[in-house]
């Protein structure tokens, strides 16, 4: 009898994290105490970069990666909205190059809105936000060409980047632009680290808008994320500890009856189900263990392993249901012919 539906643990943990974030947002909104965010050098460099571009009279380039419209590109556009806000005050020209049509539509709205809010709609150039191409390397070629021709003074490469990251970073480096970069793709961060002046690592990218605006909602959410990280760290630490302790225990004394029951249950399964519950097969102890010879628990025999790798029983996997009558033509495909 299984008392705990271990398949729901993931959902429970996620909901707990959602609760942490929402609780901290609510806490920050009350605004009793200002929450602290550590210094992030890459974000401090934004003002310097804009100032430099203003002095040189050259544009600022912003690229929100080549991903589709998702949390990453939305966050990149949010950061660029802040950059544009500062740039609009100094009439510094901006260029935002976009590879996805949906992101383009959103970005254009956001940037126009920034100028409007600043009361400088006349400074907004419709062509400053551009759709270049949704093909990765056509986009890379297009942006590199623009960087070269327009001699960017500063580049902000923030978002979902792939192989084009180094092309942008090295091109911008060759024209002497200040570069602030950050990618959620761990595979691209090393390229940025090697080639750019300032790099936002991992979730610093998500912390950026909170850092720049100090909006209570964003700061609260950031603190909520930190709570989640503490929980994950504790889980990793305790997991390693308990797993380690459990694996040093002797596992032989009760194995024989368990193994027989387990084996019987396994052989009762259909072939299809057997494949799904291969772990059961692994758990059948060796003959040495069945004879009562002491052995240490294996990695897949600990309680923690089983919590996160539940073994469905035969009854759980095979469910008898009423059937609908089969359709007259195969799936109705030929219905109209």
């Amino acid at each position: 009898m299984q008392w705990l539906d271990t398949g729901k643990i993931g959902i429970f943990v996620t909901l707990l994290m959602v609760a942490f974030i929402l609780f901290n947002i609510a806490r920050a909104r009350k605004g009793k105490k200002e929450l602290f965010i550590r210094r992030i050098p890459g974000l401090n460099a934004i003002d310097d970069a804009i100032g430099r571009a203003t002095e040189m009279g050259r544009p600022i380039f912003m690229v929100p990666g080549i991903g589709t419209l998702n949390a990453i590109s939305v966050q990149a556009v949010n950061i660029f909205a802040q950059v544009t806000k500062t740039a609009s005050q100094f009439a510094t020209p901006i260029r935002m190059c976009i590879a996805d049509a949906a992101v383009y539509t959103v970005a254009q709205e956001v940037i126009r809105d920034v100028y409007q809010r600043q009361g400088m709609l006349e400074r907004f150039d419709v062509d400053s936000v551009r759709f270049i191409s949704d093909r990765q390397f056509a986009f890379a070629a297009g942006v590199s060409g623009l960087l070269h021709r327009e001699k960017a003074a500063a580049t902000f490469l923030l978002g979902e980047f792939y192989a084009e990251s180094l092309i942008f970073a090295e091109t911008a480096n060759s024209i002497g632009a200040i570069q602030v970069a950050g990618s959620t793709q761990t595979s691209q961060t090393p390229f940025f680290v090697a080639a750019c002046d300032y790099v936002l690592l991992g979730d610093e990218f998500y912390a950026a808008s909170a850092y720049l605006t100090r909006e209570p909602v964003l700061v609260g959410s950031l603190v909520g994320q930190d709570w989640c990280k503490i929980m994950i760290t504790a889980a990793v630490f305790l997991g390693a500890l308990f797993h380690g302790v459990e694996r040093s225990q002797v596992a032989a004394f009760e194995w024989a009856p368990y193994a027989e029951a387990n084996e019987a249950a396994f052989s009762a399964l259909s072939d299809d189900a057997k494949e799904k519950v291969a772990d059961v097969q692994v758990q059948v102890p060796s003959s040495a263990e069945r004879q009562g010879i002491q052995a240490l628990k294996k990695g897949n025999e600990t309680m923690l392993y089983r919590i996160f790798n539940p073994n469905p029983s035969a009854e759980d996997l095979v469910i008898e249901r009423e059937k609908k009558p089969p359709p007259p033509a195969a799936e109705g495909e030929e219905g109209g012919e």
């Binding site: 093909r135 990765q136 792939y162 192989a163 060759s174 595979s187 691209q188 494949e275 195969a330 799936e331």
Partner: protein, 321 residues
């Protein structure tokens, strides 16, 4: 001032054009040399080959091809090897792309090439509909991956392909897809990728089907995370991965050759064995490019060493002056 620059100063600031020219020459020349260098394949490549060879011949393999011509140096080699292995095993497979609309044309080109190669070797062509089904491109990689895990018949059900007689029919009427009612019915879910579609696949399909991946060197570190957590059965990373597979296609894994020698042994998993291929080309793109890879990496190491030597020498000089 410029005339006073010492060799060490110059080493610190070698013109990038000089470096680029050396790299171009060093990588181009070895392309003309095909060498079968001895190698000890990575454990992840060994598992990849063993997994692929262990798929029962009557089960269909799902092959997700998410690469374009830009990464053909790596993924092209993966794809060729995978096709050669599947064809040699007479394994049926379904192929499609999620990452890029360009991708289907690219795998079709590889397919055509391998088929021509087989024909020239007197081997039968792999036929669409009967031996494999080409589903083309599906937009929205993440959404489609969720759908595949949820209901593969509905996801692919809208696609039609020509049968042997040239009549267009629903792909699920083909011998390749007929036995498939859910993704778990596939013998293996194989992804050849140069992008993050591997993340979507692992997040959405893990536990539902056996998975393996062949990816570029850049994506490798993130794919290896899934290999270590056993969510992927095997991973072939980059050009080294291509050559590893080709090497095992020749010599097998944990098996003795005619001379009684085991060329590739897997000491961590001595019970895992996989035979070499029995027909078709075995050394391909990997062995053609492997020497170039060595030359390019050698140059990177040399550049790093020279840069550092130059830096230290000029620091020393500065201190002395």
């Amino acid at each position: 001032m410029k005339q006073n620059r010492s060799v060490w100063d110059k080493l610190q600031g070698i013109d990038r054009r000089i470096l680029y020219s050396i790299l171009m020459v060093l990588t181009s020349v070895p392309l003309f040399i095909t060498v079968a260098l001895p190698v000890d394949p990575d454990p992840s490549s060994k598992d990849f080959y063993a997994t692929l060879m262990a798929v029962p011949p009557d089960q269909t393999v799902f092959l997700q091809s998410d690469w374009t011509n830009s990464t053909r140096g790596e993924n092209g080699g993966h794809m060729e090897s995978i096709f050669r292995i599947l064809m040699s095993k007479k394994q049926k497979f379904v192929i499609y792309s999620l990452a890029d609309p360009q991708a289907p044309q690219v795998f079709r080109d590889v397919m055509l090439r391998i088929n021509q190669e087989r024909e020239s070797q007197g081997l039968p062509r792999y036929k669409p509909w009967v031996d494999y089904v080409d589903l083309g491109f599906f937009a929205n990689a993440e959404g489609t991956t969720v759908s595949i895990g949820n209901d593969v018949r509905q996801t692919f059900g809208s696609r039609r392909a020509k049968d042997e007689t040239g009549v267009e029919r629903n792909v699920f009427e083909s011998p390749v897809l007929q036995p498939i009612s859910k993704v778990g019915d596939a013998g293996l879910f194989l992804i050849v990728t140069a992008s993050n579609t591997i993340d979507y696949a692992v997040q959405r399909l893990s536990g539902k089907v056996k998975m393996a991946c062949a990816c570029t060197g850049v994506i490798g570190p993130s794919a290896l995370v899934y290999y270590q957590s056993k969510q992927l059965e095997g991973v072939a990373v980059g050009l080294k991965g291509v050559y590893d597979i080709e090497y095992m296609m020749n010599y097998g894994l944990n098996v003795q050759g005619a001379d009684g020698k085991t060329m590739v042994s897997f000491s961590e998993k001595p019970t895992v064995t996989a035979p070499p291929l029995t027909e078709g080309t075995k050394f391909g793109r990997g062995s053609k490019y492997f020497a170039s890879l060595h030359a390019a990496l050698g140059l990177v190491i040399l550049a790093v060493v020279l840069g550092n030597v130059g830096m230290f020498a000029s620091r020393k000089k500065e201190k002395q002056s």
